[in-house]
């Protein structure tokens, strides 16, 4: 009966019903139950064309390199405002670290030196790893390109190393099951392997690369590395225009020092990535040149390619500023300020390859400040008003 009345009413009192519906519309529901979802991306920090970027100077030579970046940005007129967050490397708690992560979430982009974790206690994790895990920066990209004019074992190298950045051997799961026996877990997941492989193929497609090599040790770790290899093979089928092959890590290292030109884009798990990127950096002239990029779904962090703190040379004015400056160029490109990126990039290339202003790590005798002031000179030549 009630049902019938209800069903009849719309016909008779159509007018009323419509009004009732309109007052109970999505508008009202929205306001009575505010739907501010936690996962909603935070609005980007871009105001009047200027981006806000988090700067984590880190330890060792980090602060001085960041000083150079700011100096160069000032002269190049790069529309970026830095929010500097210092992390006290000796502290036992993680307040600074949490603040830094929040800051990156707000700004979306960060430039970072290497952060030291001096604490020996087991519950204080490596802060570099913590940042990557917390922000889910699952992939690290290192574009290894030779600089003409820099003394190196091999010339004309142009290899892109794409590394899984959050799991694998860096899962930080270790325990002593029996006295004297320690087990360390290497975690490989299908979803992360899938994301990395897909990122690599998209990267290759976008940047006109021809070949992708998966680096693994699936002959020994048949399941974990096997999964990584299988996944990348599967993704490769979706990109028939890009050649795909695979290589075992030990062979890969040998090939890299003897015949690096066979490689184009390489993908690998975490620890192999760390090793291979250091090998390639050594082959083309050292830790002071290359910059690395860490990407997640929402955030990006730019840092020098090899993650060394350089505490021994801190404050001596001999650290090579090029790696951090290259990281800043990557950052500008990521933010879409391509013209400023070009401007700084050109100045760096001229300084290193044409003027041969090299710091001691490249066999030169220039101070860090000499390099920076020459870069600024080049920038000024390009941006004069009259």
């Amino acid at each position: 009966m009630a049902c019938r009345i209800l069903r009849k009413q719309p016909l008779k009192l159509g007018h009323n019903i419509i009004r009732a519906q309109s007052t109970m519309s999505a508008f009202e529901i929205q306001h009575k139950t505010p739907l501010i979802r936690k996962t909603e991306p935070i609005p980007v920090a871009l105001y009047g064309g200027r981006n806000a970027v988090t700067m984590l100077p880190g330890g060792g030579i980090g602060p001085e390199l960041m000083g150079y970046v700011k100096e160069v940005f000032k002269y190049a007129g790069a529309p970026v405002d830095f929010e500097v967050v210092e992390i006290d490397e000796k502290s036992e708690d993680n307040d600074d670290l949490d603040y830094a992560i929040t800051s990156i979430k707000r700004n979306g982009v960060a430039i970072k030196g290497n952060i030291e974790t001096k604490s020996e206690s087991a519950n204080v994790t490596s802060r570099n790893v913590a940042i990557r895990n917390e922000l889910d920066l699952y992939v690290n990209v290192l574009n290894c390109k030779s600089y003409p004019g820099v003394p190196a074992r091999q010339s004309n190298i142009d290899v892109v190393i794409i590394r899984q950045n959050t799991e694998g051997e860096y899962a930080m799961l270790e325990h002593e099951s029996v006295d004297g026996v320690v087990e360390s877990m290497k975690v490989v997941t299908k979803s992360n392997s899938d994301r990395v492989a897909r990122f690599a193929f998209e990267y290759a497609k976008k940047n006109g690369r021809k070949k992708i090599t998966t680096i693994h040790k699936a002959n020994i770790m048949k399941l974990s590395d096997g999964l990584f290899l299988e996944t990348s093979k599967k993704i490769a089928k979706e990109y028939p225009e890009i050649e795909h092959n695979d290589m075992i890590i030990d062979n890969c290292c040998m090939q890299l020092v003897s015949n690096p030109h066979q490689f184009d884009v390489m993908i690998m798990t975490n620890l192999y990535g760390s090793i291979v990127s250091n090998v390639v950096c050594g082959v083309i002239g050292g830790a002071g040149l290359l910059s690395g990029k860490n990407y997640g779904d929402h955030y990006a962090i730019f840092e020098p390619g090899t993650r060394n703190t350089g505490t021994a040379i801190a404050g001596k004015n001999i650290a090579n500023p090029i790696a951090m400056l290259n990281a800043s160029v990557d950052m500008l490109r990521h933010l879409g300020h391509s013209q400023h990126a070009e401007l700084i990039q050109r100045a760096i290339n001229r300084t290193v390859s044409e003027d041969h202003i090299h710091t001691p790590d490249l066999g030169g005798s220039a101070k860090s400040t000499d390099v920076v002031s020459r870069i600024i000179d080049h920038i000024m030549q390009d941006t004069r008003h009259w």
Partner: protein, 376 residues
Amino acid sequence: MSFLTRNIPRILVQASARNIHTTVNQNATAVNPAERPDTRVSCTLIPGDGVGPELVYSVQEVFKAAGIPVDFESYFFSEVNPTLSAPLEDVAASIAKNRVCLKGILASPDYSHTGELATLNMKLRNNLDLYANVVHVQSLPGIKSRHKDIDCVIIREQTEGEYSALEHESVKGVVECLKIVTARKSQRIAKFAFDYATKNGRKKVTAVHKANIMKLGDGLFLKSCEQMAKLYPRIEFERMIVDNCTMQMVSNPQQFDVMVTPNLYGNIVDNLASGLVGGAGVVAGASYSADCVVFEPGARHTYSEAVGKNVANPTAMLLCSAKMLRHVNLPVYGQMIRNAVDKVLQDGKVRTKDIGGQSSTQEFTYAVIHNLQMPA
């Protein structure tokens, strides 16, 4: 002699120009350095109504004297003179291209010729999505006022709220005016305020609201601010009801640091605060979108009764131009103008009528030019 005094700062500026560089126009494709056109800044200029053109002329005189590498693209843009006004699309396109604009105040008549409810100002803001209005209210040296040492920043959402231009007469004698509040825009303005505070080393953000009455609309705004505040643990966050806020503002304005407000409250608080430090002639403001900035005086008065009398105070417009120079990476020039204006106000020999003097706009402008000096 006067030639020398005028030109010495200019020569100094040119000599030091190697230290400062402009932001390169990003829309242009990368060009070879050899064939790159000179990297002067171009800036859209809207003189506005009332005394706007006179004030803009003052700015241009100062820019010319200081040799500042800025080219203005000038547009006559006016709602009270629709036949001569440049089309909105052209003006918006110019601002979108240059990414900076210096703008006087546009008069908004109380009636509408066409029956359209949105004013030209609102249309320009909505077209460019200039959502954040920032007014930095600061006590200036040499201006007598009731309070000293006021230094607060009022950040106002200016694309929604009461300014939705949605009004209708549902039944004869009953008019409804819709105030729209959205979570997306509330979060955006809250984040803007906190990012502004972070960037400028400010300590506190105050959200101004009336959520005790408008529980849903202002409630959403307040909730968005609270939610954003969690991301900024090092900045203090407080809430204040708008009526209390206006009282506090006139009795104890020093307590405020950064304030974030919805549209109408912001408009009221802006004008109130401007009155505290010397009136509409001395307070500079700016409106931000993601890509562009429009620099305009903080309190919106056209001062149309003074048109052609040469008595308006160009301080607000000059401070706007100083902010604009800082934004386009010419901070040395910006500082130079700022210092010169401060010096003139401090000396107190040349004052316009609104701050208790007898000098003309022109005399004030010349006094500023005379005090242009390279900052140490």
